[in-house]
């Protein structure tokens, strides 16, 4: 798992963070949170967050190995 030590480990997590933050900015920009509207989380966001958490879990596993 040494591949996760460098940029190949942290860059995907940073990309996911950027995605999540961009989505929040987009929501505020388009002001979608109007009364009665039901917002659904996109599958892409969930999957991306899951991948980032998996990478970090593997990273901590490597650190303690």
């Amino acid at each position: 798992m040494t591949v996760l030590e460098g940029p190949t480990g942290y860059l995907p997590v940073i990309a996911v963070l950027a995605l999540l933050i961009t989505r929040e900015f987009a929501r505020e920009l388009h002001h979608v949170a109007t009364p009665g509207e039901h917002r659904k989380w996109s599958a892409v966001t969930f999957s991306a967050a899951f991948v980032a958490i998996a990478i970090l879990a593997l990273r901590f596993g490597t650190l303690y190995a």
């Binding site: 942290y10 997590v13 963070l17 933050i21 900015f25 966001t45 958490i53 970090l56 650190l63 303690y64």
Partner: protein
């Protein structure tokens, strides 16, 4: 010819009479005009007399007579009288409902409670605060981060900021200024707390009472010069912004089946799109400093934000996930050196019982006096939580079920941190601190009833009763460890002398670490302690770890252990420093019977090794002087958002002046004060002013948080990139300030011209 002295005296007397008469006349006029009420006058008189009595009494506390229950054992009656008068002023102000009186009395309460240690003691208290100065000094002088050194280097944001401010202001006597940190921090905490209170309960009386309760029940003592103290302020600001601006647009979430915990809040502030985007950006900047500045606070922010999302108080649903990812990202990569060297970081994950045992049972040790203090602290915390539960009950009974459950959920969310790790036995204490703002709101509800309820005599009596109990407990719970936490001027001078004598690279050994040391030469010496928290070892060659057996019956063996701990390389020198505060530390916390340090001194003096170590005993009983020098506080003037273009001109002139002073390296107190004010206020005010966000209590908190966070991020980037330049950071911040105001002025001109053209159109249509 008239004697000049007589003339001057009679002129002085006449001026005194004239000023007294004119003050009385203006007061009378204000009373007649309704500007001032009799309640205001009572509050002002009680506060002024209280503070003066408190100050005069507190500067003459016989500190050397202190017992194991701390400062309370030596407080003169005048200090108690001063505290009671200021508290009486708050009750009068609360009853009158007048904001100026309430604010004045709360500020005075912060001063008399959290400034007590500062005024009563001759030097900055607490060894960790001194160590933190040393870490800032390390960054200031080295201009780089060394992650292999310790945890501080892996979460350096706060120290990068402190190092930058130190350099930029050109301050010389840092401890004298930083001694006032508890007062400044506790005043800052109140700004976001008031904003949160107004947003959640919307009842002025409840909010002000909660602010006062927060002040009198904050015994936790994390508000010294420390990252955790600072980031609790940023944590509260982030929560205040989220609750005030990013709440759900609708009150409940019936379709998701969570209506029972959904908020009863009115709609959040909507503002303009630009305002919301700017605030979101500010939240990200603030959280970036929290993530890179402290180990525990990001987790607290994550769980509290998640709770706010769950109860419908925050619509930024991915924010808790982003926070968690950012925290783990920093821990796993930027702080990898620390984490790899500490495999126990996450080893306690989920072991709640073991963590609870470490945070409660293991703290109940030491001398009988110290145990009493620990029990009092636990009792006070439990009592506050019980009152908070009553607050929840009163809200439910009054029909505010959703509000009750939501507030309780957010307050209790911090308890999830118990599943993380014991945090050196401090987990429960930190949780109480993170939850205190919400606990205080619930306690306020318990005392005077739900929002909108009429405050009758009965409620006021309950406030007074609980208030008196909390006030009586405060000096005990807050300053209970003071016997070991305060330092005499001679102790500080002793440590200074040690640094002058000891060449860089020497071994410096202290008995317990309860010493005002490491504020300089943080990485230049080999620091060791004899009682290091590890189990007691009986081996003569104890090495660098393990607690030296101070109770060993054989003094020669004790001396051998000390020699082993102080072992030096050829050419290296080794010093042992012994002081009053360390003896107090040993007596209070153990693990040896009282008088352990005297045995150590006897062993060292009688040993054959005394020829090569310098034993510097600062015997305070012999040298103590009653004269205490108390530095004047650096008082921040209240932030005033003044007229439109005047603000822009003032900020720009301030930015340019500070940049010139720093570039020219002008050494004066004028530069220190001006630069400090600029760094605390200007960049944030300039940027927030563009969107009209620098308003109200939250506006003031946001200005300070944004200014300091921007400086932190620039300074930290310089440290990591190896381009440390405090002057460069000041120039960057000055440019940000000027550019921000240029944009703000442009925006206002557009708005003005749009308004006038709209008016012209209307006028044309009418005519």
């Amino acid at each position: 010819m008239a004697d000049p002295e007589v003339v001057s005296r009679s002129c002085g007397a006449w001026l005194g009479r004239w000023s007294a008469v004119s003050a009385w006349r203006s007061t009378e006029a204000a009373l007649r005009g309704g500007v001032l009420t009799h309640a205001d006058l009572t509050v002002a008189i009680l506060t002024i007399i209280g503070v003066v009595v408190w100050w005069e009494s507190s500067i003459a506390v016989p500190l050397l007579a202190m017992t194991d229950i701390g400062l309370a054992s030596v407080l003169p009656p005048g200090t108690w009288v001063g505290i009671l008068l200021v508290s009486a002023a708050f009750v009068v102000a609360l009853k009158s409902g007048r904001t100026p009186g309430i604010v004045l009395s709360i500020v005075a309460t912060v001063l008399v409670l959290h400034g007590l240690g500062v005024v009563a003691e001759p030097e900055m208290r607490f060894d960790v605060a001194w160590r933190h100065i040393g870490i800032a000094d390390y960054f200031r002088t080295r201009g780089q981060v060394d992650p292999e050194l310790d945890a501080y280097q892996n979460w350096p944001a706060f120290f990068a900021f402190a190092a930058f401010v130190w350099e930029a202001t050109g301050l010389r006597d840092l401890p004298a200024v930083l001694a006032w940190t508890p007062v400044v921090y506790n005043l800052l905490y109140l700004l976001p707390l008031i904003a949160i209170g107004h947003r959640i309960v919307g009842d002025r009386m409840l909010v002000w009472l909660a602010a006062w309760l927060f002040t009198v029940s904050n015994w936790i003592g994390q508000d010294y010069f420390s990252p955790q103290g600072w980031y609790v302020f940023i944590y509260l600001v982030v929560l205040a912004v989220l609750l005030s601006w990013f709440g759900e647009y609708r009150p409940g979430l019936p379709d998701s089946g969570r209506s029972h915990v959904a908020s009863e809040l009115e709609g959040p502030q909507v503002g303009t799109t630009n305002q919301r985007l700017a605030l979101l950006a500010v939240v990200l900047v603030l959280t970036a400093t929290i993530v890179s500045g402290h180990q525990l606070t990001p987790y607290a922010l994550t769980v509290t934000t998640a709770a706010a999302v769950a109860v419908g108080w925050c619509r930024l649903r991915t924010l808790p996930i982003s926070l968690m990812l950012a925290t783990l990202l920093w821990t796993g990569y930027a702080a990898a050196a620390y984490v790899a060297g500490h495999p126990d970081t996450f080893s306690q994950l989920g072991s709640i019982l073991s963590i609870f045992e470490q945070t409660v049972e293991k703290r109940l040790q030491g001398s009988p006096g110290h145990e009493l203090i620990v029990r009092l602290r636990l009792l006070e915390t439990a009592a506050l939580w019980a009152l908070a539960a009553i607050g929840v009950f009163r809200l439910v009974r009054a029909g505010h079920r959703r509000l009750a459950l939501s507030l309780a959920s957010v307050a209790l969310s911090c308890f999830l941190l118990m599943a993380l790790q014991s945090y050196g036995g401090e987990a429960l204490m930190r949780i109480a601190f993170f939850a205190l703002a919400f606990t205080a709101l619930l306690v306020a509800v318990a005392l005077i009833g739900p929002p909108g309820a009429l405050v009758r005599f009965r409620e006021l009596v309950s406030v007074i009763l609980v208030g008196v109990l909390l006030l009586a407990a405060f000096p005990l719970t807050r300053y209970g460890n003071e016997r070991m936490d305060w330092y005499t001027s001679d102790e500080v001078a002793g440590v200074d002398a040690m640094y002058r004598v000891a060449p860089a690279g020497s071994v410096l050994t202290s008995v317990t670490g309860g010493l005002p040391w490491r504020s300089k030469g943080y990485d230049d010496y080999d620091y060791r302690v004899l009682v290091d928290g590890n189990p007691i070892s009986s081996a003569p060659g104890i090495g660098r770890e393990g607690t030296v057996d101070m109770a060993a019956p054989d003094l020669a063996k004790l001396a051998e252990q000390v020699e082993s701990r102080m072992a030096r390389r050829p050419g290296q020198r080794s010093f042992l420093i012994v002081s009053r505060s360390q003896a107090a530390d040993l007596d209070l916390l153990g693990p040896f019977p009282a008088g352990a340090q005297d045995r150590l001194i006897a062993a060292v003096t009688a040993s054959t090794y005394s020829s090569w170590w310098g034993c510097m005993k600062t015997d305070m009983e012999a040298q103590a002087r009653d004269v205490r020098q108390v530095e004047q506080p650096v008082v921040l003037r209240p932030l005033q958002i003044i007229a439109l273009y005047r603000t822009s001109v003032l900020l720009s002139v301030l930015a340019v002046t500070v940049a010139v002073l720093v570039i020219a390296d002008v050494q004066s107190s004028f530069r220190s004060v001006l630069t400090f004010l600029f760094l605390m206020i200007a960049p944030g005010l300039s940027l927030l002013d563009i969107c009209g966000l620098a308003r109200g209590w939250l506006g003031v908190a946001l200005v300070v948080a944004t200014s300091t966070s921007l400086a932190t991020l620039v300074a930290m980037a310089q440290l990591y990139l190896g381009i440390w330049s405090p002057t460069g950071t000041v120039v960057v911040l000055a440019l940000v300030t000027v550019a921000g105001q240029a944009v703000a002025v442009r925006g206002r001109r557009h708005a003005d011209s749009a308004a006038s053209s709209s008016a012209n159109q209307r006028y044309g249509a009418c005519s």
